[in-house]
């Protein structure tokens, strides 16, 4: 059975794409079949596996998510293999910046992605489908949430990070009117400097949220690590770039938590 998990937060720079790429890679390294879907016009998830030249070529030639969604095609035709065993991706395009306008006139416009993903999901070819969402709260992100079984919210330990998190929860309440089965799998804290007091304050607040609202705080948090930027520069997941790095180990631990909890 295929489980669909999206990574979303309307706060930019919260680590959605990096977490999606590295959790996906870690799952594949554990022997799972994983499909990544890049839903962000910034193409950062695509750039985690292909260099800029190859990414921009796919963005231009129509072999991307934008074409699949706007033409309402089966997403299976847009899957690309990465160089890693068990890890495929549907790349994005800079054209995704206009997706809101394209969706506007479509019938059942919140459900276009769910429909396009239906055959892939039902085929059972993948254990997990991970979707990277853009930092917005519009109809396209609603599409991503409606196509997902679970939502993971990466959040930076900062005041604005928590403010954005509150916005995200309010948005989720609206999405649940259309997709009541959507479950918030948890909040993952990223870009952590655990020497800072604000990190401890953030954990206190999120622990209270976990107790009061039953919203999981993942036990693994991702600390700042220059290996992450270096791996991005090489278009590689951090584990493929440097398996023994601290960041690689943390993403693997997070992926194991995700796999433990993400089932119906």
């Amino acid at each position: 059975m295929t489980t669909v998990i999206c990574f979303a937060n309307n706060k930019g720079g919260s680590g959605k794409s990096t977490t999606c790429a590295n959790v996906g890679y870690s799952m594949a390294a554990e022997g799972k079949k994983v499909l990544l879907i890049d839903g962000d016009m910034q193409m950062n998830l695509t750039l985690s596996f292909f260099d800029d030249e190859a990414s921009l070529e796919m963005a231009k030639n129509g072999e991307n998510l934008y074409t699949a969604v706007t033409k309402q095609r089966d997403l299976a035709a847009f899957i690309k293999h990465t160089e890693y065993e068990g890890l495929d991706i549907i790349p994005s395009s800079t054209l995704m910046s206009g997706i809101e306008f394209e969706l506007f006139t479509m019938w059942q416009r919140e459900l276009i992605l769910r429909q396009g993903l239906k055959a892939v999901k039902e085929s059972g070819k993948y254990d997990y489908i991970l979707i990277d969402a853009p930092p917005t709260l519009g109809c396209w992100v609603m599409n991503i949430l409606c196509a997902s079984d679970f939502l993971i919210i990466p959040v930076e330990a900062s005041p604005w990070g928590l403010f954005g998190l509150a916005n995200m929860f309010e948005f989720c309440e609206k999405v649940k009117r259309i997709s009541p089965d959507l479950t918030i799998l948890g909040v993952a804290v990223t870009k952590v400097n655990d020497r800072k007091n604000y990190f401890k304050q953030t954990i206190d607040v999120l622990s209270e949220l976990e107790q009061e609202k039953n919203i999981r705080l993942f036990r693994t948090y991702i600390r700042i690590d220059s290996t992450i930027e270096k791996s991005q520069d090489e278009s590689k997941p951090v584990m493929a770039y440097k398996k023994v790095s601290r960041a690689a180990q943390e993403y693997m631990a997070l992926a194991k938590e995700v796999m433990e909890y993400a089932h119906r």
Binding site: E110, F163, A166, E173, L217, Y221
Partner: protein
Amino acid sequence: MPIGKDSITKRVIGAPETTPAPKPVKTTVKKTGPKVTPAFKEGVLPTPTAPKELEAETAKPEEAVKAEPSTAVMGNVSPEVVEKVTGHPEGKGETHVKITDDMPNYLL
């Protein structure tokens, strides 16, 4: 006031439930022990441990707030909207739909 903490405690924790909880009502526990600041090591948060003394109290069952059924009617709407709202193809041909609480905002 701290923006970060307030955003969560007031807008999320303090927010009223707008959708029915998917899980059955749980028993909550009331802490009587002092709050312990956890230690953070190696990118992993400590697993929460139960306080020494717990006073179990059954949460009040969610009061079934039965909203008054809406009697408002929206007229002069397209058959496609009627079909979408009613969920039935036979909605086609109608030009009026009843306004309900779960109707998407953009339809209103």
